[in-house]
Symmetry: C2
Subunit: 322 residues, 2 copies
């Protein structure tokens, strides 16, 4: 890391070496049906099968594992719409420390329960009126906890990039990579890894239409804040790009594609019926972008990150039934 | 095969060599959550990820691939509640022949569509009043088609056994194997493979409570016919054990465990939420038996076959919502 504010391929490779023994090397799925439908060779990186159900464990473990003994003795705190919560809770447990997680009151029940299941304490706030950052910082100050940000931290970004490192190790050359964008940590880490290994690759971010803050920000050339997005893609319901993630994404993303809730729903259904795999709404947005057929020009060999699979069966039923 | 009526380990190994290039070597899934819940080491063989969505492709391809050029020129016919249909349709397409499939009128829409998607012609009958065997035989006689039975054929049974061959190659020693029982082809093939490789293994069949024909038949010492079972496990809605499968299962199965629809539903939900994988009701019955905690004594290392994943998203939603 040159100035402590950006992330290099070497940082992602260091993260991979550090987290390798504890993360799942998730499978890369291929499907004739998908290839025929899309008209390209598609490689699906199944981070829905990662520990704690999403890519988030990579960044969280990388960040928490670098804390000092003194910091670990006091514990960590995180704010998250869900998957980062479970990731930090599990990383804390694995590293012998404690976690307090600040979650929105309307976070999916399955995510709250899973977070508590990993031994974390959950504190809730109102997604539409509360300030989770202020709450997280207050808890950190009061109890001497170390804040583990969901995306705006070099160790988190580097950790998230390791999924793409694994993907490209397995597939070799790719013409494009589709990656969901929420706060931009996965996108930034993935873009660093992908463009570092394959200089000619197009890295395309995918946002929900209702949460197009990164697309708008890239167009404006500066970070734009949108109203808190109302979308089924709760993991991408972020109002503004990160301070650290945005400059990386500005430099390395080729484009941002938007998908609406109906397209996300169709992608979840496709993953369920044809790939037999469970993807949550945010996790399906990359696949949704591919299935809409709007990636133009169509690359020959495409990587897609299915970023998470934390959706309860009842919630899935509601989503499918529209 | 000694008398053409039974199946040996060598037959299963021959089938494996023959079908190896075209079937998926499906993954064996392990889950800390599942191990902790059950209190044993569990190895889940994911035949829901097999081509055409179920183990059935193994037996169908093994059987169809052995037909003569003359038989292949005329085509094949099969009757099936669903997964064997897709399997024969795909096997026929792969081997350059045509398939006519006899299906119940109330077969899941997704299974009918998938079967036609593989290029087969579908003929329907009423599950509660029709005689699918007579219909299949009439079509065979009229058009010179070769009937590919869903379970009562040595090549079909040997093909189904290859999933267990792969499982044990990967896991080594197992104390028990849980396998869903419908017509008994998967159970018989699995039992031949498992006991052939591991003489001390317990092979436990699992039937839906409403379709306990094999359990009753084992108790009676002869094939018993029950009323056509009404259960969500449509792939196990078989009224009597097979003529060829029954003697094999009588000789090699340790026991039959029954599960009800609610337990199957819970297992499907568990597979969805914790394993992030899609299992159809019949495919989940082995897992359901394990999750009920009624396998006694509890083996230390258990293999479970998730036999199929062909359930539409809407149907899954209905099932989850009870």
């Amino acid at each position: 890391m040159t100035d402590g504010r950006t992330v290099t391929l070497q940082d992602v490779q260091d993260a991979a070496a550090r987290i390798g023994p504890v993360v799942h090397r998730t499978p890369v799925l291929c499907s004739r049906t998908l290839d025929e439908l899309v008209g390209a060779e598609v490689f699906v990186k199944c981070e829905n099968l990662q520990r704690a159900g999403a890519f988030k464990f990579r960044g969280a473990y990388n960040a928490v594992s670098r804390l000092s003994a003194g910091q670990l003795a006091k514990g960590v705190v995180a704010y998250s719409s869900g998957n980062h919560a479970q990731a930090v809770a599990l990383a804390a447990r694995e590293l012998g420390t404690t976690a307090v997680i600040v979650m929105p009151e309307d976070a999916p029940r399955s995510k709250v329960e899973a977070t508590m299941g990993y031994g974390a304490r959950v504190v809730t706030y109102d997604r539409y009126t509360g300030d989770r950052i202020a709450l997280g910082e207050a808890l950190a100050a009061e109890h001497g906890l170390t804040l583990v940000p969901p995306y705006d931290h070099p160790h988190v970004i580097a950790g998230q990039g390791t999924a793409t490192l694994e993907l490209i190790e397995e597939t070799g050359d790719l013409d494009a990579l589709l990656v969901p964008v929420g706060g931009g940590g996965l996108a930034a880490g993935s873009a660093v890894a992908a463009t570092g290994l394959l200089p000619g690759i197009r890295v395309i971010g995918v946002e929900p239409e209702a949460g197009d803050d990164t697309k708008r920000s890239l167009e404006a050339g500066r970070r734009i804040t949108v109203p808190v997005p109302r979308t089924i893609a709760d993991g991408q319901a972020v109002a503004a790009p990160g301070e650290l993630t945005f400059p990386i994404n500005q430099r390395l993303l080729d484009d941002i594609t938007l998908v609406d809730d109906e397209q996300i729903r169709d992608a979840m259904r496709f993953a369920f019926e044809r790939l037999k795999t469970v993807v949550e709404p945010s996790g399906a947005s990359g696949l949704a972008a591919l299935l809409t057929g709007r990636i133009d020009p169509l690359p020959r060999r495409i990587g897609v990150i299915l970023s998470g699979g934390n959706v309860g069966a009842e919630r899935f039923a509601e989503i499918v039934q529209g």
